[in-house]
Amino acid sequence: MSAQTLTSIRPASPAIRWSRRAAGAVAFAALIELISRTGLADPEFLPPATEIAGRAVTLLADPAFRAHALTSLLAWAIGLAIAALVAVPLGLLLGSVPLVDAATRSVVEFLRPIPSVALIPLVALVIGTGLQHRVALVVYAALWPILYNTMYGLRGVDPVAKESLRSYGFGPLAVLMRVSLPSSAPFIMTGVRLAAGVALILTVSTEIVAGRGEGIGVFIFFAGIAVPARMADILAGVFWVGLFGVAVNALMVAFDRRVFRWHHVQRGEEG
């Protein structure tokens, strides 16, 4: 809380902000290094940052780790794709046909609050604990953000645009495809971005709870229950998962900014 902060906030230039982010990351790593090297925390629990980083690099060359990572990636991607393929059309249907919405609303309201991890044991019993187990749970969890954002986007479609198209003799389906879908696309994108994060949570959770086969969660779990725990392995694994999450999010944000520029300009946000 410096003196300037409660008065006015002037954003720094992007170059400065990026260099500050980088400096922050370096400082964070240095802090871990320091805490570990000085013995402030037991290096058994918190290995130095350089050791974690080294481990992260060697893991990449390790075929076993690569297989774990690839399995998780697959479950995540397939689940997210299926969720999008189901949720977008469903959202368009629910968002544009009030009767269907009213009819299914109670089901949706009932299913959504169920925390997806609670289904891990049930789904394991019903379909077993392979890839399909993870995919099914990812689909369930990723469905809701996409569905809700699609419906939300449809609600905001400019009625004038719809009517003008209709006045030229276009049918409801044409209006849906030419006006409603494009103008709710940015919201769908937001839904997919949120779903991508949830999907990652479910991938890892399911792997850990199921506790067998391959997957980054399995790798981390076994590194954790080993005696003594392989802390560098855990944290290197966590590092890659976190980096993956940040990268996916950043890519989607960048995509959103580029492709849906019109949308953000319209809403008075900065490019």
């Binding site: 809380m1 922050g24 629990f45 609050p113 925390p115 709870v209 229950i225």
Partner: protein, 266 residues
């Protein structure tokens, strides 16, 4: 308008009844062990949790043993994480420089799926309540922190200048100008945190080493192949999730009434 609303509500309830009846009929017809009829699930919920004596509000020992610990963990974890997130978020939002430095690291920490870190907490704290609480707090603190900081940063410059011109003290500016400005985004973060805390609470109870809680009850049902009990646990969690969300919305609507009303008008 009101009559229309009532009609829709009545319609929805009717549809729900039809669907439940259809669900009942379908599960009975299929006779699958995996999909018990809803009546069986409800009976099981009643027998397990809600057939106690009036003195304990009809809660059974199992309910006290499973539901309360879960709720308690979640409440404590949510409160701790939310409080830390709000305080740190406000502090961070006040300095654009500090925010710039920490932004990257915080985005990274938020992007880590919390379950990936659960083994770290296991190693640090061992199995048990301390580990679960620390895990829940750590999981939810980032969305709250980042959203609050974002909200504090989006405070209208003219509002700050007004506070400055009328010589409000630092605390007054913080509590009466910055904090209210941050509230809408803070609540968005808290809502995310609420559903996340339910997820990580259940997750932490699914891990080996747990001795009570709804998640533990699910694991027990899993190993004993007791599907009605498992469905009962899932339905209970759904109901809890729904209720928690409703309570949250009521609070949010009260606190942010000015914000929603102003938004409707513009």
């Amino acid at each position: 308008m009101r009559r229309g609303g009532l009609r829709t509500a009545a319609f929805r309830v009717a549809v729900l009844l039809v669907l439940v009846v259809a669900w009942e009929a379908a599960t009975r017809a299929a006779g699958s062990a995996f999909f018990p009829p809803p009546s069986t699930i409800v009976e099981r919920m009643h027998a397990m949790w809600f057939s106690g004596s009036p003195a304990t509000l009809f809660l059974t020992d199992a309910a006290v043993g499973d539901i309360l610990p879960s709720l308690g963990r979640m409440a404590l974890g949510f409160a701790g994480g939310a409080l830390a997130g709000v305080v740190l978020g406000l502090a961070l939002g006040l300095s654009s420089r500090v925010y710039d430095y920490l932004d990257g690291v915080l985005q990274f920490l938020r992007a880590i799926p919390p379950p990936a870190l659960v083994t770290v907490f296991l190693v640090l704290f061992g199995f048990g309540l301390r580990m679960q609480l620390a895990f829940i707090m750590f999981s939810i603190v980032w969305p709250v922190l980042l959203n609050t900081a974002d909200g504090a940063r989006s405070v209208e410059p003219l509002h700050l200048q007004t506070g400055q011109v009328f010589r409000l003290s630092r605390t007054e500016r913080l509590l009466r100008v910055v904090l209210p400005s941050a509230l809408p985004k803070m609540f968005a973060g808290l809502r995310l945190a609420l559903s996340l805390s339910l997820i990580v609470m259940v997750f932490s109870e699914l891990l080996p080493g747990t001795t009570n809680g709804i998640g533990f009850q699910l694991t027990t049902a899993y190993v004993t192949f007791d599907l009605p009990a498992m469905w009962a646990g899932i339905v209970l969690l759904g109901v809890l999730g729904y209720l928690l969300n409703e309570v949250f919305l009521v609070v949010e609507r009260r606190v942010l009434a000015w914000h929603h009303a102003a938004q409707r008008l513009t």
